[in-house]
Symmetry: none
Subunit: 203 residues, 4 copies
Amino acid sequence: MTQTKSKRDLILDAAYNLFINKGYWDTKIIDISEAAGIGKGTVYEYFESKDAIFLELFRTKVESGYDNITDVLSKEISSDKKLKEFIDIELENTSKYTFNKNFLLDLMLKSDAFRNPELIASIHNLIAKKFSVLYQIIEEGIRNGEFIQMDPLLATASITGAINLYISFDLFPINLADVTASNKTKNWREEEFLNLLLNGLKT
Amino acid sequence: MTQTKSKRDLILDAAYNLFINKGYWDTKIIDISEAAGIGKGTVYEYFESKDAIFLELFRTKVESGYDNITDVLSKEISSDKKLKEFIDIELENTSKYTFNKNFLLDLMLKSDAFRNPELIASIHNLIAKKFSVLYQIIEEGIRNGEFIQMDPLLATASITGAINLYISFDLFPINLADVTASNKTKNWREEEFLNLLLNGLKT
Amino acid sequence: MTQTKSKRDLILDAAYNLFINKGYWDTKIIDISEAAGIGKGTVYEYFESKDAIFLELFRTKVESGYDNITDVLSKEISSDKKLKEFIDIELENTSKYTFNKNFLLDLMLKSDAFRNPELIASIHNLIAKKFSVLYQIIEEGIRNGEFIQMDPLLATASITGAINLYISFDLFPINLADVTASNKTKNWREEEFLNLLLNGLKT
Amino acid sequence: MTQTKSKRDLILDAAYNLFINKGYWDTKIIDISEAAGIGKGTVYEYFESKDAIFLELFRTKVESGYDNITDVLSKEISSDKKLKEFIDIELENTSKYTFNKNFLLDLMLKSDAFRNPELIASIHNLIAKKFSVLYQIIEEGIRNGEFIQMDPLLATASITGAINLYISFDLFPINLADVTASNKTKNWREEEFLNLLLNGLKT
DNA sequence: TATGAATGAGCATTCATTCAT
DNA sequence: CATGAATGAATGCTCATTCAT
């Protein structure tokens, strides 16, 4: 019994790949419809606009992964465990994307490029949500003496950045060859990263 | 003695401000020419295309700031000092931009949006150059026992991310209010950040 | 015994109301099918095209009302009685429409907007038919000395215009308030109108 | 010395003819640009939109002709002279149009077809202005005993209609042959029309 | 019959770039 | 050198109509 993908899913899949590989603005409706193997008009049977397709992708592929991220805060575990769980969720979410471009980070940083207020709000909200959770984890860690005394905002920003690039290392696929003699790829372990955050570079 | 700015510089200055404030795609050639106080056609007397203007700005305003960054590597100082110098250069460069948007990071992440291969190459090259220097600093630090044993690629990516966000914290101006009770603004010191990188979060 | 309306009639009724309330161009096939409570495709089982629906409505709702208008001409009554009967028929026909827009006049004047040659011909034919009857009434009145000596074409055109606007005064509902102090509405009598046509403005 | 028409005028002339002959909706921007002998994009150098072209035509070709129509009201002449002057202005204005379609009446009645609020307002205002002036003329005539006692609104509507069709008799060029034996064309005199309005049909 | 999913021709508008003056 | 008028390729979206089921 062959499961036929719904047209809606065909469109989403096609759009997803195109947005990732060519970017939002370089992806034309006709591209999506051709990639989906359907007519141009059919796209509009399932989505109101190009923005709407993007918004749907954002919600289902990205936002939904963070629905329960605030749960971390109320758990009865140490702050470093919370930090680990936070990173775990990030990893789990982003590992779903098989992009060779950084979809998530890209999305967030490019959010100004969109005009759709609903979409912009969604993106901003997710950024704020994640930032807020991380901020609270760190603040709590500082308060309870687990973490060093420091500006929690600074720590949050820094660690957000570190996590982003840790996750999105694929951003630089072209240049990795230039950087390292061996054509290394990302194969480090999460613990190692967490250790870096918690204990720093110094021996 | 009044120094009259050359038309070329008028164009570059106008474009610079517009790119920063409205973004590349929202800045039209006519905007640039009007801001520069010259005719639309005149822009093309000095630059081949809109991309060419951007490329020139990238080279003079951004790339040039990193001309000597490799010098850090050959200095006879400890690895953590090298790391500090690297960050100093980053801070010095980016502090020149008075953007309320993160020009540099934005640039890097949005680089796919450009078609001009020369421009794309320039952007990628700068990213690679910086990444490479940081990578070598860290690798050396690990080799000489100053830094902990870890994947240098992981560390480089993480720290790159941390630096980026440390620098570009202004990216989230809207959301800061949501995140912190007090309407805090970025006022931390570089040492605090460096300490975080070197010693981590843990007490 | 419940009379179930045929699908064909459901379509016509739905289209009729929509055409009147939203106009021909603002009425979409999907609107008609939904208002009729049937599927979009079903519309095409009963009518070849949107134009065809309109044509049918024109014929049944409008044109048919003038089937016997030429009978007036052969009646053995005075010319002013004939004129009265002509106007009576007009009033009777148009009073069937409960539009707040002038369907008939609108139709005639907007006829260029249609492409269907058959429809255009039908509209033109009705206009010509009515015009012709009125022309003959007036010409006869002049010939038999009942009406003043004048160009019958001029009189026909003028009186056609007067009748049209007399009937379709509702066309200007918005502006009436600007025009008259009291927010008057049309409540005059036909005799008054007929008197104006026959005896003119002068005392 | 050849007077070269400005591009703006070329566009307006081309649009004018096309709007009249094919109607607003059937006239495409490409039609206008081709008729004007210029590129499609050039149209937008002179006008913001298709609507804007129409609005400009309406204002310059139609509305402007009625700028001083209210002056009639304050003149020290009899009511029937005022009526004559009103009609004179209508004739003068509309005689400028060499359409074989009724531009003005068409315009007013089709005004709903437009979405541009400014344009709709302009059309409605003109209708109201003319209607209001005529209404005041008639009301005054009734008050001072020059005209018969009757509903001034009824008279205004009727006479507006008569004037419209008197003026726009060209609306039925096709059908005239059907109506009259001789292929008559409009060649009546204004007095005859005025006489009809003032004294009616009856001898 | 009845359906509604699928279609694609058609169109207003934008804007980087050209080039005659 | 300087200009800005002129250009046209490019694109998201609409909706009457078709047709497989």
